[in-house]
Amino acid sequence: MNIELNGKIYEVEPGQTILEAARSHGVYIPTLCYHAKTGGVGKCRVCVVEVEGMRGIVTACTVQVGEDMKIVTESPSLRKHRKMVVDLLLSAGHHDCLSCAQCGNCELQDVAYSLGLTHPSFPQPERKPEDLSSEFLVFDETKCIQCGRCIQGDNCTVINDTLGFAYRGADTKVSFDHDLPIGSSSCVQCGECVQLCPTGALTDKKARGLGRNWELEKVNTTCPYCGVGCQMTLHVDRKQNRIVRVTGREDAFNEGMLCVKGRYGYDFPSSPKRLTHPMIRKNGVLEQVSWEEALDYTATRIKEIVDRDGPDVFSAFGSGRITNENNYAIQKFTRAVIGTNNVDHCART
């Protein structure tokens, strides 16, 4: 199917929306409430385009492409309308980016930048306190643009059924159950809403102030907890040798979804209680020793006992927590070096 975008012909698949078709060809259309997972719902009206033959201007995220459709995505009047819509949003809250966790990764900031908006031109409402009542989430109502992505996520992707819109018109707000603080609500803090939030309304509490988005190195890995093996991206501060934040990988089989342990249980490696040195029990007390001493001591004791009583008195436990490579190393050591098959692991708990 062919369509015309700003005068140029493009090949697109039927069933795509104008937005998807434009983006697949690198044509920029600003969006705020659209997200690949939660779809185009036509709430923010920033993605309006002109389509020949259609009455008025339409939202690119909800209208599907049609054969030989002529679409204009940039025009002075479109820009004026988009600018007014974003200006209304900026004036409806307190989008001050100075120390916002989402700075540099905020879609409202990007769209305002692309439209050249510098400040809200309408009087702003009075500030409201942030909801800090939960362990891992922070909800700042004054940065919420009511795009509904968090609610759509909570009710259709992770289906924890905690979020919903409450009240009406200008008082519409995102509400946890019957407008409870997050901490006492039924929220299991899986963080899907934080990942879907385009602005700084919903952010990770533990990551606040520990690193700007662009300062942190992104490295993909697998979750250390249950057997689902969710794919995640670690936001790492190399200088501080610390994981600052975790997000789910949208392109992997878990589609960006995680649970509370996966998303927020990342800081145990940096705990001061870690075992850091080899130790040997000397007259009943475990003492720190060097690697040399520990390895020599262990090797000689193993050799002494195995030579005396044979290999079968040796047994080794691998683990469901360590990597495949380490498990393989343990079984190879037990079989090739010691010469027994007494190797097992805690598959039973």
């Binding site: 609610i151 009710n155 059924d161 905690t162 979020l163 919903g164 819109f165 409450a166 009240y167 009406r168 509400s175 946890f176 159950d177 019957h178 407008d179 039924s186």
Partner: protein
């Protein structure tokens, strides 16, 4: 947290029983939520929180969704209402013929803001949308009774009339 029954008065218990009976017959698929809320509103005079819980669990609709619907529609109130709900019509015809002055008079006399209820639980003041009696503008409704061509000066008399009706009833019962 299951609703502990001993805290509820006996009338509330039967009302709750009627609500539960209605819920048993309602299914979420055919949009049963709003009729259920309307039943609760008519039974209790308002939608108490424990009714929201009952509706949420028996229709298996998340509380967030139930709360979103009950706070969307103007008709539902989650605070107990006064015995007499005074609704001042703010339709165009009434407005043009002085409804705002009538509303201000009620606000002064009852010392209430729109949506508030008098401490003695007698009056609730609401600003309503057009009741469809524009020929008799400006119009107010007290529960289901329509009063037509109300003048600001007549407001005091009207309130007095209902206060006396209340005392009168008070003596009888």
């Amino acid at each position: 947290m299951t609703m502990d029954t001993n805290e509820r008065t006996s009338t509330e218990l039967e009302q709750l029983a009627t609500l539960n009976a209605m819920l048993a017959r309602t299914s979420r698929e055919e949009g049963g939520l709003i009729p259920a809320l309307q039943t609760a509103q008519n039974l209790f005079g308002y939608v108490p929180h424990f009714a929201l819980e009952h509706i949420s669990t028996s229709l298996r609709i998340p509380m967030a969704t139930v709360y979103g619907v009950v706070t969307f529609y103007h008709f539902f109130s989650m605070q107990p209402r006064g015995k007499y709900t005074i609704r001042i019509c703010l339709g165009t015809a009434c407005y043009v013929l002085g409804a705002q002055a009538v509303l201000d008079a009620f606000r002064e006399q009852l010392d209430l803001e729109v949506g508030g209820t008098t401490p003695d639980q007698l009056f609730t003041l609401e600003a309503g949308r057009c009741f469809g009696a524009c020929g008799l503008a400006p119009v107010i409704m007290v529960n289901d009774v329509i009063h037509q061509r109300v003048r600001p000066e007549a407001v005091a008399g009207l309130i007095q009339h209902y206060r006396e009706a209340e005392q009168h009833e008070g003596e009888l019962v």
